[in-house]
Point group: C4
Chain length 274, copies 4
Amino acid sequence: YYLITQKDITSRLKRRAKFTHKGTYGHALIIAGAPKTMGAALLSAEACMCTGAGLTTACVPEEGLTALNTRVPEVMAILNENVNEDLTWKTYQAVGIGPGIGSSPESLALLTKTLKEYNKPVVIDADALNLIGQHHELMQIIPEGSVLTPHVKEFDRLFGEHVSWWDRVVTGIDRAKTMGCTILLKNQYTMIFTRDGKCLFNPTGSPAMASGGMGDVLTGIITSFIAQGYSPEDAVILGAYIHGAAGEEGNDYVVPASSLIKRLPATIATNYST
Amino acid sequence: YYLITQKDITSRLKRRAKFTHKGTYGHALIIAGAPKTMGAALLSAEACMCTGAGLTTACVPEEGLTALNTRVPEVMAILNENVNEDLTWKTYQAVGIGPGIGSSPESLALLTKTLKEYNKPVVIDADALNLIGQHHELMQIIPEGSVLTPHVKEFDRLFGEHVSWWDRVVTGIDRAKTMGCTILLKNQYTMIFTRDGKCLFNPTGSPAMASGGMGDVLTGIITSFIAQGYSPEDAVILGAYIHGAAGEEGNDYVVPASSLIKRLPATIATNYST
Amino acid sequence: YYLITQKDITSRLKRRAKFTHKGTYGHALIIAGAPKTMGAALLSAEACMCTGAGLTTACVPEEGLTALNTRVPEVMAILNENVNEDLTWKTYQAVGIGPGIGSSPESLALLTKTLKEYNKPVVIDADALNLIGQHHELMQIIPEGSVLTPHVKEFDRLFGEHVSWWDRVVTGIDRAKTMGCTILLKNQYTMIFTRDGKCLFNPTGSPAMASGGMGDVLTGIITSFIAQGYSPEDAVILGAYIHGAAGEEGNDYVVPASSLIKRLPATIATNYST
Amino acid sequence: YYLITQKDITSRLKRRAKFTHKGTYGHALIIAGAPKTMGAALLSAEACMCTGAGLTTACVPEEGLTALNTRVPEVMAILNENVNEDLTWKTYQAVGIGPGIGSSPESLALLTKTLKEYNKPVVIDADALNLIGQHHELMQIIPEGSVLTPHVKEFDRLFGEHVSWWDRVVTGIDRAKTMGCTILLKNQYTMIFTRDGKCLFNPTGSPAMASGGMGDVLTGIITSFIAQGYSPEDAVILGAYIHGAAGEEGNDYVVPASSLIKRLPATIATNYST
C-alpha cells in the first residue's frame, strides 16, 4: 500500500519541450456518447484536449455533432454510423471508451470491435464496464495494459458482489495482475491497482467534486496522458492526482465538471518539477 | 414574522464532508421546458447542478436536447416523449417542475403524473402553478411537504384575487398549513410560509435581479437543496437566501440569470459556519 | 450642436430602486434574424437583456431557436411563423426591429405589421431601414417617437444621396422634426437628431469597436432603455454613450461585439450619479 | 536568413486610428468546414474576427450554421450550396480557404472557383493545400501574392518529398519566388519564405501550442490582417508572431486553440509601438 505524493507526480510529469509539435503529444480517440447521453462525451473529449493530447477525436452519434462543434471545436469527430469506413486504429496512440455509450447493441458492437481490433491499451469506463459485466466473454479480449476505471457499483458488476472496501482491494489486486490491467477504483478513496500487484492511494480530491460528470472527465484525462506517451500506470497515477488537484482549487461548495476541465492546463503546470 | 439572518443560514448549511461522493448529494430531476420555451429549463437545470446536487437530470422535449448538452453537459436528460419508459421516480431524491412547461395537454398530463406518482415533496413553479390554478383538482394531490414558489400573479391564480400584500400573507399562512406545503411568495419582499404557520422574510436580494429567468434559477436551487437531504423548509430558506446573496454581488446594474448561476458555488461557500 | 457629457448620463440614468421587480423594467421585443442571419438577432437580444430590461423576447425564425436558447436562455422566443397567433403588442413596452431580418417578403410583411399595429415608438435598424428605403410608403406609418439608427449608407438609402456629412446633418435635423423621430446617425462621429431639432454628438467610443455586430448591439441597448421607461431621446442618448463607454474599456486592439455585451451591466453601473 | 524581432512587429502594426469604422478594417471571407469537420471553420472564423477584421463572413455547409451562430454570432455566413448566388468576390478584401473543407468534389470545385475568380491574394491552408497537391494544375491559377501555410507533410504533398528541413528551406525559397507567393512552413521553427527570396524565422511560440486547431487559428489571423490592408508578407509576419506570442502567455501546460483566440485582442495591443 502506497500513498501517492506530489513527488511521484513531479518525477513522472514531463514538461513540453521546446520545438515539439502536436504529433509529439499523440492523437487520442474518445468513444463516447449516444443520442440522448452526449454530455458525457463532451466532458470526456474536452478533458482529453485540455490535458494536452496533440489531437483529440471523438467518436459520437451524428445527433451530437452540433453540440460537439459548438462546445469544443478543437475536437474532431467520427460518426458512429461511419465507424467502419472512417476509423483507422493506427491513427490513435490512445483510446478511451465508455462514457455515455449506453447499452444498445450498436454500443456493444463498437466496444467489441475496439477490444478486438485495437492492439494497444484501452481506457475502459462507465457503460463500457457495464457492458463487459453483462458480456463476460469480453473480459478475455481486453488488450494487455488496458485501464479500467470503475466506481464501486461498476466494480461489483464486473467482478461480483463485495461486502467491504477491503474485499474489493483484495479482488482489485488480484484482477489487475491476472488481467494485466491497471484498475482505478473510485471508492471513498481512489485506489489504483497495478499490473505488478501494487495498491496505490490517491491523496488529492475534494468533496466539491461529488458531482455528475467527474468520471467522464477522468477518463478523458487518463486517455490523454497515454496518448502523450506515458505508460498506462503513469497515466492513471498522473490522471487521478491532477484530476483531484484541479478539484481542490477554489474552495467552492461544488465544482461543476466543466469548470474543473478549464483548470486542467494550469493545474498540470503547477506540478512540474522545479 | 421572522427576518431570516445569516446565522439561520450558517446553522443550517452543511459543509461537504471529506470522502462523500455524488450519491451523498442526491439526484435531482428538473421537469421543465417545451419546444419553444427551453431557456427556462436550461437555467433551472444548471442552477440545480451549481447548487451542488450530486446528479441532475432534466426532463425536456427532444427539441431542446442539443441546447441542453451544449450548455450543461453535466446534466443528463430524459425526453418528454419517453417519460413513461425512462422515468423511475425512486431514482430521484427531489423533483422540481414547472419552468417553461407551458399549458399543453402533454404538460398537464406530465404534471398530473408527477403529483400522483412521486410520493415525496415536489418543488412546483411557474407554468405548473398556473396549470394547478386552472385545474384545481390537482391541488388535492400535491404531495405533503411540497414547495410552491409563486410570484404575485401566480399566487392569485392559485388562491384567488387579493387586494394587498397583507391579504396574501394571511392566505399564505393559512394555505401553507392546510395544504402541508411550504409556500415561497415572490413579492416586493420574498416571504416564506411554512407548514407550521410561520412567516419568514428573506433579507437578501438586489434590484439587479429584476430580470427574466431568476425564478427558474430559484426553482433549481431549492430542488437541489432538497436532493441533498435538506427538509423542504430548510431548502427554501437556504435557497431564497443564497439566491439573493448571489444577486447582491458585484454591484452591477443588472445580473443576467446565467451569470448569477455561475456565482452559486462560491456564494454558498461564503455562508459556511466558521 | 451639443456634445453629450457624462453629466448628461448620470442625470438621466436611474439606479434600480430597492424592491423593484422585473415588471418595473419592462418587456422588450427584438424582431431580428432570418434563417441564415441569426447572429444579429443573438447579439441584439443579449444586449437588450444585459442593459437591464425586465424581460426580453426575441421574434426569430425557428431555425435560430437552438442557437438562441444555447446562447441566451434568459431570452424568450416567438417564432416568425407563429407571429399572428403568439404576438400581443400590448405585452411589450418597447420593440426593436431590423438586425438580420433581410429583405424577404415575409420580413417586409412583419415590418409593415409592426409599424401599423404597434402604437408606441419602435427602434428601427439595419434591414428594416433598407426595407423602408425600398418601400417609401412605410415612412408614413412609422409611429411618432420612433428611433432610427442608420449608418451612413442606410441614411442615404432612406433620405437620398448626400455628398458630405454636413449635408447629412442638415437632412437629419430636418427629418427628425418632420417625422417626429429620433435619428441616430452612425458616422465618423455618432450624431443624434432629436424631434425638437437638436443635434447631439456622442463623445464615447473607440476604434476597437470597428467590428461586425456593434450596430446590432446598439439596437438592443436602446430598445432596452425604452422598455425600462426612458423617453426615446433619453434612451438614444444613454444607449449611444453606454455603448461607446463599454467599447473604450480594456485598450484591446478590437472588441468583439459579444465581449462588449458582457461588459454592459458593469459599465452602466459606473455611470450612476454619485 | 533573418530572425523576426518585436521591433519588426511594432514597426508594422498600425494602431486603429480614431474615427475609423468597420469598413476601414476590411471584410474577410473564411471558406472552411464540411458537415463533419466544422470545428476548423469555427476556430478560423473566430480568430479572424478577434484579430480585428471589420467584418468576417464564413462560407460553411448548412449543417454547421447553428454551431457558427451559437459560438460566434458576430460572424456572418454564406452557405456552400448557395455560393453561386450569394458570393460576390469584390465584397471581400481577403479570402482564406482550407481548414476542414475535406477533399470532396464540392470542395475541389469551391477551391477551383476561388483561385480562378478571386483576383487578389488568397490564404491557402490545410485541405486546400492537399487538394492542390492532388491536382497540380491548380498550382498555375493561384493568384499572385497568395499565402500558403503548409505544415511539413502538406509542404511535401505540394512540392514533393524532402529528406531534411534544410532541403525544405531550399525548395521554399525557390517556390516562393517562382510562384510569387508567401509560404509559411510550420516546421520545428516556423519559417516564412517571401516572394523576394527571403527566409524569415518566427521567434514566438510555445510547446503549449502543440494542440489541434492551432493551424486553423493562424489561417484566420493572417486572413484578417490582409483584410485590414496589410501586404501578404506583413500579414504573415504579423500573424505568425502574434499567434506565437498569444500562445506564450500564461505558462499553462497546453493552450486550447479557443483559449488562444480569446487572447488575441489583448496580445495584439501589447505589440503597439510605444
